[in-house]
């Protein structure tokens, strides 16, 4: 038996090493950071952040070379279940950059809090690896593995302040609801696999056309509910505010940007490639979730006094705007919807990370998370005040800053769809844009007009790493807003929709 097996000629499958180089760099980097941390002196732990940053930037290099070189072979490695196309590369670059900014933000927080540093960076890298894999996954199995790879480290990072009961609570809530959501998602996936006979998304898409069976409808509903938890869409959002408030602020920034974006990427891929035939099931669900998400997020954000909690609800409501184009995913507007979501994810990442960077810089000296602690920021820290104005105005969607162009694209997708329900959703979104401006402006009024709450006007000196993070995010917000053609051309690449293979 064994002899006959050994006698068979075996040729190794050809592996395109260049195509999976970003993932390989990250895997090597994770082990490197883990080992270096073992042997590094306690006094030299600051080097861990530098090494982690270099690993993340090192992983960007093959992403760039892949994007520049192009090529057809790599589109279909692993039987088309793991695809490296323009869509995947853009998102990979986004996740790596977000990871880098989060490293810059966490460095001082970890050092001053006396928390474990090496382990934190390892978990951060693992989570980023999961996201990078997610953008290439085109199969239920790889999507599931990538989702868990990015979530499990995030659970631990949310509970990083071990002695702080609020951080415990944040981690526990995130963990329990996250695991429950993946279990529900898996149950849906098992039905999807059972009724179509395959886990490859493009094949599922072919098999799901025509009349749907009851089991298939159930499968779509469960899959959608599972993803809705990950992207904190109402009514599955209850974990988000508590987790965001209790977790260390850099982790909150990471969760509200990268983890959420990864959830959207997974949802987008599954809907666009696999479930387009089931649109009469998921379109109304997504429509309702989008409308509810932006409205509930906004209305509750209006009465928050803690700025992190306010931004948590604001990110819930921004999620509603990102979800909005997905409601018209299966009509003729599918391609403009896809483009709108990718652009929104890119620009939202810059603005939201930037807002969190300012909060981290300010709360280092005020030791408070209340909105009132931002009173009179302009009088003693004009730089941070102006930056916060830029980020919040961008989040509110005021031209010419970042998110206005993303919102415009989202509205355009709805107009392209041209159905009555799409127009109604567009009107709900327009009303919500105005409500959202209300609470962003409240913070800005504190910064520009209110007096300093305790009269303490010592200038704030954020560490240089935070300044670098602020520079990257502010640059992204302003440049993408003023020169939207940059990101639009990016997303206009025919490959973005073409190479997804539908």
């Amino acid at each position: 038996m064994i002899a006959s097996l050994l006698a068979q000629a075996w040729t190794a499958p050809t592996i395109d090493w260049h195509a999976i180089a970003p993932e390989l760099v990250l895997v090597v980097g994770i082990n490197l950071v883990l080992l270096v941390d073992l042997w590094l002196d306690e006094a030299k732990k600051w080097a861990m952040a530098t090494i982690t940053g270099l690993v993340l930037l090192g992983a960007v290099v093959p992403v760039v070379t892949l994007a520049v070189l192009g090529g057809d072979v790599r589109d279909a490695i692993f039987d088309g279940r793991y695809v490296i196309d323009e869509y995947a590369l853009i998102l990979k670059a986004l996740f790596l950059l977000v990871g880098y900014v989060v490293v810059l933000l966490s460095q001082n927080e970890l050092e001053e809090g006396g928390y474990y540093q090496g382990e934190f960076y390892v978990l951060l890298l693992v989570s980023v690896l999961g996201m990078v894999m997610m953008s290439s996954s085109r199969d239920l199995m790889s999507i599931f593995v990538a989702l868990e790879l990015l979530s499990i480290p995030a659970y631990m990072m949310a509970a990083w302040r071990k002695r702080d009961p609020r951080s415990n609570e944040a981690g526990a809530k995130y963990y329990l609801l996250g695991v429950f959501a993946s279990a529900v998602l898996l149950y849906g996936m098992s039905f999807l696999y059972g009724t179509t006979g395959t886990t490859k998304l493009t094949d599922i898409g072919v098999a799901l056309s025509g009349e749907l069976s009851a089991m298939q409808i159930l499968a779509v509903v469960f899959v959608l509910a599972g993803f809705a938890f990950k992207i904190s869409a109402v009514p599955f959002h209850t974990w988000a505010p508590d987790t965001y408030e209790g977790a260390p602020t850099p982790v909150t920034a990471f969760l509200s940007v990268a983890s959420k974006a990864a959830g959207f990427v997974a949802l987008l891929t599954v809907l666009y490639l696999g479930l387009y035939g089931a649109d009469e099931v998921h379109s109304p669900m997504i429509w309702a979730m989008a409308a509810l998400t932006m409205t509930v997020g906004n209305v509750v954000a209006l009465r928050q006094t803690n700025i992190v909690r306010m931004l948590a609800y604001s990110s819930v409501s921004q999620g509603g705007f990102i979800l909005m184009p997905l409601a018209v995913m299966s009509t003729t507007a599918a391609e403009s919807a896809l483009r709108a979501v990718v652009i929104y994810l890119l620009i939202y990442a810059f603005s939201n990370l930037g807002a969190f960077a300012v909060i981290i810089a300010v709360s280092r000296s005020t030791r408070s998370g209340e909105i009132s602690s931002f009173g009179g920021l302009m009088s003693y820290a004009p730089g941070l005040g102006v930056l916060m104005t830029i980020f919040l105005a961008s989040l509110a969607g005021i031209p010419p800053l970042g998110i206005w162009i993303a919102k415009l694209q989202a509205f355009r997708a709805l107009i392209d769809a041209g159905s009555t329900s799409a127009y109604v959703l567009a009107i709900i979104a327009a009303v919500n844009t105005v409500i959202a401006a209300g609470y962003y402006m409240r913070v800005l009024r504190q910064i520009w007009m209110s007096p300093v709450p305790d009269g303490d006007t010592t200038p704030i000196r954020p560490p240089s790493s935070v300044w670098l993070a602020l520079g990257i995010t502010a640059g992204g917000t302003v440049v993408l807003g003023i020169l939207p053609s940059l990101v639009l051309r990016f997303a206009d690449l025919p490959d973005l929709t073409g190479a997804l293979g539908r």
């Binding site: 071990k162 415990n168 944040a170 429950f180």
Partner: protein, 99 residues
């Protein structure tokens, strides 16, 4: 034996698990309920793999088992951490943040 028997078993396990997650306040019981859901998924996957005569379901089930182990590892660590801080693992007492 019909495939539907396994699917009914899976559905029962799933419902039991969801009930446990919603109704139990002990963190360890909730973890066990989540395990029940994951095992419902495994039963489903194997039944469908036999039905469709493909190997993908078996592979998927192996992945689910491996990932479930990792998840429970993290979960139990988190339960221990909460127990050390509060001397209790009742989930409804975790309510410091509201609004």
């Amino acid at each position: 034996m019909y495939a539907v028997n396994f699917l009914i078993l899976g559905a029962l396990l799933f419902s039991l698990g969801v009930f446990g997650v919603i109704a139990r306040r002990n963190a360890v019981m909730v973890l066990m309920s989540i395990e029940l859901i994951l095992n419902a998924v495994n039963v489903n996957l194997i039944a469908f793999a036999m039905m469709n005569n493909s190997a993908e379901g078996h592979v998927f089930a192996l992945y689910v088992i491996a990932v479930a182990a990792a998840e429970v590892g993290v979960g139990l660590a988190m339960v221990l951490m909460i127990y050390r801080n509060r001397r209790s693992i009742a989930l409804d007492e975790l309510s410091a943040m509201k609004g």
